[in-house]
């Protein structure tokens, strides 16, 4: 009887292991290679993709082929540290108006400081036209780290822009008179929506949507829910559900430690500060995020995917409501993965980091 029980337990354990493992059979196809630090992907359709290279270029894959010449007319960027040509997002009406938005770090004229800027431009053939600066983070900084620089459109057509804490300015993430460690919300022409949470507050900048962020490098809008992904220091990378006016705690509460080994804050939670729905200790260096709602990989439908650089892999997170119930590591046989997106046909796109970076399409076998 005891022997049978033992066998039963073993059988259940083995079955559970099989059920938990990723049994999806897929293959990689490199669709662009020899890239200089690809950073952010924007998908037009199954065969047309736009992406940034941190060194300052905007590139196109047109009809499945990488155009050798970068898009002309892009603004001059400050390519230093973590700065450069960063986020790219398409206008919700891109198919008709060909408008896109670029986030990048730029040096201030005549000074040694720099800041995060966002422009709106029309993509015509392989050139940017009608360029208009719609956002410039305030104040400028003298560091070239922690820009954030990812963007997403909300359902009402307003644009959310993530801003990092600039590394040296982390305490400013808790005050509302600056853009360090904030997610801001503007209209697509750069004007301010009237219903921002701090609009009538004379002590706060009216663009601020949420605050207390460190270096948010992933932001998605799924059915009206905004999910934000941010780098922690040594540990403490987070996924948060972003809501207007909320304080996400950095650096007053954190699950991470400073790079110099010291305690940033002894607190991990506090009243009035939001908890992440997921955090990682040690850090995985999360870089990009998507919520997969296609059917090409039916086992993965409804999961959040987080690309990570330490080690290079993708974390697939199973959602139940707004709760993450399971984490799976996939695509861990590539190098550092800088961004992730999916095509309308359900294939997954990965951008690998560094000089010699690639864009890889993942399809089922």
């Amino acid at each position: 009887m005891k022997y049978n029980k033992f066998l039963f337990v073993i059988l259940i354990s083995v079955l559970t292991l099989f059920l938990r493992s990723e049994e999806v059979d897929y293959n990689y196809t490199v669709i662009a290679e020899g890239l200089d630090r690809p950073w952010s992907l924007a998908v037009i359709d199954d065969r047309n993709i736009i992406f940034t290279e941190l060194s300052g270029s905007l590139r196109q894959i047109k009809d499945g082929e990488l155009l050798l010449a970068p898009v002309a007319g892009t603004p001059e960027v400050l390519f230093k540290g973590q700065g450069g040509m960063s986020g790219v997002v398409l206008d919700p009406d891109f198919q008709n108006n060909k408008v896109l938005y670029l986030a990048f770090s730029a040096r201030d004229e005549g000074t040694r400081t720099n800041t995060l800027k966002v422009i709106r431009a029309v993509l015509s053939n392989n050139e940017l036209k009608d360029i208009k600066e719609i956002y410039s983070a305030f104040p400028s900084r003298n560091t070239a780290l922690h820009y954030g620089a990812k963007m997403v459109f909300m359902d009402d057509g307003t644009l959310l822009i993530t801003n990092g804490d600039g590394f040296n300015y982390r305490e400013k993430a808790q005050t509302l008179d600056n853009h360090f460690g904030k997610i801001v919300r503007i209209n697509s022409d750069g004007s301010l929506p009237e219903d921002n949470p701090f609009s009538g507050n004379s002590n706060a900048l009216p663009e601020i949507w949420s605050y207390g962020h460190r270096n948010p490098q992933g932001i998605i809008n799924y059915q009206g829910n905004i999910y934000g992904l941010e780098h922690g220091p040594m540990g403490g990378d987070e996924i948060n559900i972003i809501k207007p006016g909320n304080n996400y705690g950095w650096p007053a509460i954190t699950y991470g430690k400073d790079y110099n080994g010291s305690i940033i804050s002894p607190f991990t939670e506090m009243k009035g500060m939001e908890q992440p729905i997921k955090y990682w200790v040690p850090s995985i260096a999360p870089s990009g995020m998507m919520l997969y709602d296609k059917e090409l990989f039916p086992e993965w439908t409804g999961s959040i995917f987080v690309s990570s650089m330490k080690p290079g892999s993708v974390r697939r997170l199973e959602l139940e409501g707004n709760r993450i119930i399971e984490e799976h590591i996939i695509f861990d046989d590539l190098s550092r993965i800088r961004d992730i997106a999916y095509l309308p046909n359900g294939s997954i796109l990965l951008a690998t980091d560094g000089s010699g970076g690639e864009i890889i399409k993942v399809q089922p076998n």
């Binding site: 230093k80 540290g81 003298n142 560091t143 070239a144 780290l145 590394f167 040296n168 982390r170 305490e171 808790q174 040594m234 007053a252 430690k257 400073d258 790079y259 110099n260 080994g261 010291s262 305690i263 940033i264 804050s265 002894p266 607190f267 506090m270």
Partner: protein
Amino acid sequence: MIRTFFDLLLAALVVTILVVVVSTSSNLLWLSSLNMPIDFNLVTSTFLKDVVGMNFNSQIPLYLLISIPLILFLFCTKLISRKIWMNRTFPYVLAGGMSMLFLMIFLPFALDNLEPISGSRTNIGKLCMTMCGCLGGYIYSLMQTSKGENEI
């Protein structure tokens, strides 16, 4: 010579502990300004964790980071002051302070303006760190005096 070396290491140890005190205090003072509940136990435990963390869990141990310029500055002062007939307390105090100032200027210069020691990001923080160096220099001078080296 061994005694001098030991004294230098001891002075560096004192400065390291003082720097951790400043760094931890500035952090906790800021948290306290947000009305976070900071009590004596938390201060003590955070300080002890910082002493261990900043010396054993960082990429470059703080003690090593502080020791190199401090020992260099104090040792050079010792060599120079041998040639000059003077009270050495002030030169050692100055050398200690200068070593910390050098560290706070050198680190951002080498790291693209990043200031890895969070306590030194403000001017008051920089001043406190410099004072820590001065105190280290003073302690070194006291140790030298006890050996009878500091007499005019």
